[in-house]
Amino acid sequence: MVQRLKSWWKSLSKLEDQPVPERDPIVNSSLAIPLALSSLLLMLSLVWAFYEEGWGLRPWRVYQDEFQELFVSALEKKKPVSREEEQAILASSGYQELLARLRQAEESRQSDLQSLEQQEQQIRQRLAILTRPFTTARSEIQAKRYEVETASASSRESLARQLDELRQRNYRIEFPDGPQDYTFGELEEEFNALKAEQGHVQQRKVELLRAPARLQRQLNEYVNNRLAGLTEVQLDGLIGEARGQGIYIRQIHNPEINLVDRCESCHLGIREPVTLTADEMGGRRVFVSHPRPELLALHDPETFGCSPCHNGNGVGTVSVTKAHGKYKHWLWPLFAKENFEAGCLQCHQNDRHLRYADTLTAGKDLFQYRGCMGCHPRDGFDTEPRETREVQKQITDLFAEKQAEQLKAERLLNLGDRAATNEEANQLYADAQAVTLDVAAIDARVDQLRVRADELLLEVKKPGPNLKEVRMKLRPEWIPRWIENPQAFRPDTKMPQFRLSPEDVQAVSAFIWQSGVEGPLDRQPQGNAERGRQIVESRGCLGCHSVGEGEQQHGGNFAANLSRVGEKANYDYLVRWVHAPRRRTLPYCPVHARDITPEDYAGQGLPFRFDLEYNRCPLGDHSLQVQNQNVMPSLRLTEQEARDIASYLMTQRHADAQYAPVPFIEDQALFDRGRFLVRHHGCAGCHEIAGLEDEGKIGTDLTLEGSKPIERLDFALLTHDAKKEGWYNHKGFFENKLRNPAVYDQGKIKEPLERLRMPNFHLSKEDIDRLTTFLLGSQESVVPEQYHFNPSDQRADVQAGWVVVKKYNCMGCHEFYAGQPTSLVDLPQYQGDGREKLPPNLIGEGARVNPNWLARFLENPALSREDVHRNGVRPYLDLRMPSFDLSAGEVQKLVKFFQALSRQPLPYLPVPQEPLTDRELVLARGLFTSQAAPCLRCHATGDPRTDQTKTAPNFALVSERLKPDWTRRWIVHPEIISPGTAMPSGLFREEAARWVFALGRVPGLESYPGDHADLVVRYMFQFTPQEQRRLTGR
């Protein structure tokens, strides 16, 4: 062996010493073996290639095989169930009755049918015999005729004769009942006659069968309408189909959006008309049917495909990884399960609230409520400041234009004066005239913009409180504590934790404190804490705020938890705040970019007064910001109530809480440093801060963050780990960033000011998923404009409305769609009979109320200027509809929103009520006041003496508040409109196509021919003050 190797190596190195063989190696050696071998291998490689082509690269084939079996067996399992169901239905009386009628109909027609069929039979026989000879003859004659027509004069004669002969020739037809002779003419007649008769008979047959056919249809519908799933027959149909299915790529192709999706080549169950769970399909999740068929119903897959919503590579079929786009070079990888709603944003950018997409909507909520939008620009969020700037710009532009126009007008006039001829002069004057008219038009436009600008002053809100008032509002010791770590003080606060050194904390606190304004703050006597507590629990504070800590915490999470207010707040200010949350100490002037002081007013000889009416700047003709920019509304409390609440809140504190004195807070030296830091960290994004009112947003624009090239997302030193650990993608970037905003500074040596600024929001896993979903979805849409959901009809009003609803957290108290959670429903005090105390649900509000009234109500829920400490509509409720000081624009949006939700037309033109005759009036009043009718037991009548006890809305309001048609439906069928309402059903019963009063007798009413419900409605809609006095005067 060793020798062998040696000699081999020798031959390798010393070629020339190889022994010379006897026979010529070139001529005598053979390549057969290597050739055979390599050819064989080549063959094998071919086989391999075929395998790859057939299966290796076509996994869907395997899937489809597998699916067929699983699917069939799953259906087989379903059959017995649906059989039972079906049996039950077939047994039902309704079905049997229909069936009987069908049978009966069929039998009654039996005999006629038979006779008809016999006739038809005979006709068919005769035709069968007749047709052939007839058509032969006909074609012969036609041919001959053509010859004649085209023949030359000479031969025409004879041909014509031949034609006649053909016409006259005798045709003998052998009918079963003996032969018959015809000329061609007769033959033709006979033929047509038979045809006609045949048609006639068939016609009669159809008529005869019409009724049974209709019954049969009804029968099928009867079953289908009552069957939950599919009938056994249908299931069998499916099974047959499945068995018959070939193996091929299932493809959706929509050239309009350049879409090719083969997803269904493996996900075969997605669109099956039966629900397939993973268990039914042998645990293979790939085969389940779409979990949200209702979504598919809205978005027809044939048009939208799969990948526009779910991402992934729709074309890919060679492997699961490729198809799901989960590889380095595919830009749109499949959305993970927890983020799949991101796809909705492709088309639903403008839906602030999106049905079926709770995660996404929650993500948007977080983005707004947690103040992300304070630093990050994002289309559709915090739009007011931008709009304000735009409006201002337009106004200034228009002013410039106006002046130019005026000059032009003057110039034209001068020219006119100096014109040579009269015509010229008149022409010029006319032009001047036109220009001045333009100027007027501009004025009109400017006025409109001014109005809008004022509205915007009301609409613009900040996620955080106004820091100008800290001096009056807070205890200085508390501030640094809070800034250092808000969550330590209040775990679920929206205020994030910034990464500040102790010195920085001091500087920031000092700046905040020193930049605060001083103002008159009257000393407030103590209130009754216990009563305060009751008010907080009952008046509706809990719609947004929560009280209690840990287990005890209850209420809404929209606004702050109040459990430790006592440690931070100043009582006197707190009273003022609770009483009038929007009240400012000094008005702010956007034009002069500073707070306007009493001196400024005095300087102009004006009283120091500012509110929604007195909102012009004393230093110039423009509007002031006269409110705090927080959404907290006024509950229209009395001073005393406010004191009680404040006193209660002051008791909300940790007894053991210690606060070190903060001498530095007055240190002037820290001011500039603090100011710099506050600007650097963008505090002004969420808070109003003196001198920083016009700060821009410091964060990156997130509108298209989801489609940023991955290379542009800075994973910094984590890049390599990210790649190794497989989170080098958008999802991974967002999640890590949200979990720990400083994460991408890890290991980097940076100056404090260079470090990433995003503060830590201490988000829960769920919240991170929600925000990630929202960010992932924020992409350049792959589908063209016309696919985006930007409706031009009422649905646009819905979109606009949701923005306002979300802004003021109306959903904290009210139910807008069935099953929507509110902050209140789960509170103990609203269980059982407590339900009655809940605020009205607003499902169908648009159909219920008169939009014009609704607008008035939203402007002032008290519906009165004097007596404000109450609910306008439901004085009996402890909960109080607050005054939000909505802008006219927002009121408009809300009104339209409600009308659109219940598909009500705008503007609303009420149907005139036909006036009550005296008799009717008497009857109605009788019915209304009769002991039998319970109306006045609950409904208020606007009589202070009796109304305390009442628990239902005031009649006096009906005519202006409600819509008559709705009211009628309501009194007849309240339980349909609002399930579980206290309004009793069955007040009326149907009788001969009219509703009559059902509870006991009312004198004279029986004799009244009209509809009682109508009567009551008309009475209520013509309810006059005198009438009211008459009712209550008893």
Binding site: I26, A49, E52, E53, L57, E165, I249, R262, N313, V315, G316, T317, V318, H329
Partner: protein, 310 residues
């Protein structure tokens, strides 16, 4: 006139039956007469098939016998259009792989493979932005053996460059470029360049990041062409701008875009292959004329070298 009448009275059916009656008696005989000779001819065919080598078809295709005689072996090469690139006989040691490495032949074979796969690829490819990328996608996912086809084309291209280089290395090591083969070496160098250009122009066609940036980098060098590039020495002085310099000419634009795609497509699929084939022909022709596969020729001794007098 008369029989016209008679026809009139008879229906077509009757007439037909009459005809039949006329013929019927001697039908069998007639059939025999017609069929038998054919059977005879058939037998001839069978006989011919038994020694097919004498048949006209066979002779027309194969001009000589196949039995192992020197003559036939020579004819096998000489009478074959594809093989006659070779001489009838070659140097005995030239058939050793270790001498030639077979790289020239392999390069040509790869060129052949590339042509075939390339043609198939052309069926599925549109040289237009966006569409191009999709076509590759469809090639991978839909077209039967599409993936294999594309892979083969790409890998064959890379392999060809390697073999061409190795071929050059071998030719140098055996000094086969020396008299009388100097010119053929030049042709070889041109072929080498063309090969690389072929591969380069193909790089852009999938229209993906890889090709796009490779070509961008590649063509950016052209900016700096002396005199002809807008960033090259004396280029600006001669009025070269990004919109009229040599790079613009290459890309049909100032950036790599639709036009560049189309141009590289045409260069890749038509122009360069044609040019290359021409030079290939010359190359082979020269190989053949210069005594086919070179050497190994007998070594010459230094002592045998004639001194040049000065």
């Amino acid at each position: 006139m008369a029989d016209e009448k008679s026809r009139e009275e008879k229906t077509p059916v009757e007439e037909a039956s009459e005809q039949a009656e006329k013929k019927s008696p001697n039908v069998i005989v007639r059939i025999k007469e017609t069929v038998l000779p054919f059977i005879e001819k058939g037998k001839e065919d069978v006989r011919a098939a038994q020694d097919y080598k004498k048949s006209q078809v066979w002779k027309s295709v194969f001009r000589h016998q196949l039995d192992e005689t020197p003559r036939n072996r020579a004819l096998a090469v000489l009478t074959n259009v594809f093989l006659h690139l070779h001489p009838a006989k070659v140097n005995r040691d030239a058939v050793r792989f270790r001498f030639t490495w077979g790289m020239g032949g392999i390069s040509f074979y790869l060129f052949f493979v590339l042509t075939i796969t390339g043609v198939f690829l052309m069926f599925y490819y549109h040289p237009s932005k966006g569409q191009a990328f999709q076509d590759i996608q469809f090639l991978e996912n839909d077209v039967p053996f599409g993936g294999l086809l594309r892979n083969m084309h790409r890998w064959a291209a890379h392999l060809m460059i390697i073999t061409v280089w190795l071929h050059m290395l071998r030719v140098f090591l055996t000094g086969s470029y020396k008299t009388p083969r100097e010119f053929n070496w030049m042709v070889g160098v041109i072929l080498l360049v063309l090969t690389m250009l072929l591969s380069f122009t193909g790089y852009l066609l999938p229209d993906d990041q890889l090709g796009f940036w490779a070509v961008t980098v590649g063509t950016n060098m052209a900016r700096a062409t002396p005199l002809l590039g807008h960033e090259g020495p004396f280029g600006p002085e001669l009025g070269m701008t990004p919109f009229n310099d040599v790079r613009f000419a290459l890309l049909g634009g100032s950036i790599v875009d639709a036009n560049a795609l189309l141009r590289s497509y045409i260069w890749h699929c038509i122009a360069i292959p044609l040019i290359l084939s021409v030079f290939l022909a010359v190359h082979f022709w020269r190989v053949r004329k210069d005594g086919s596969i070179s050497g190994p020729s007998p070594a010459v001794l230094e002592s045998e070298l004639k001194k040049v007098r000065k």
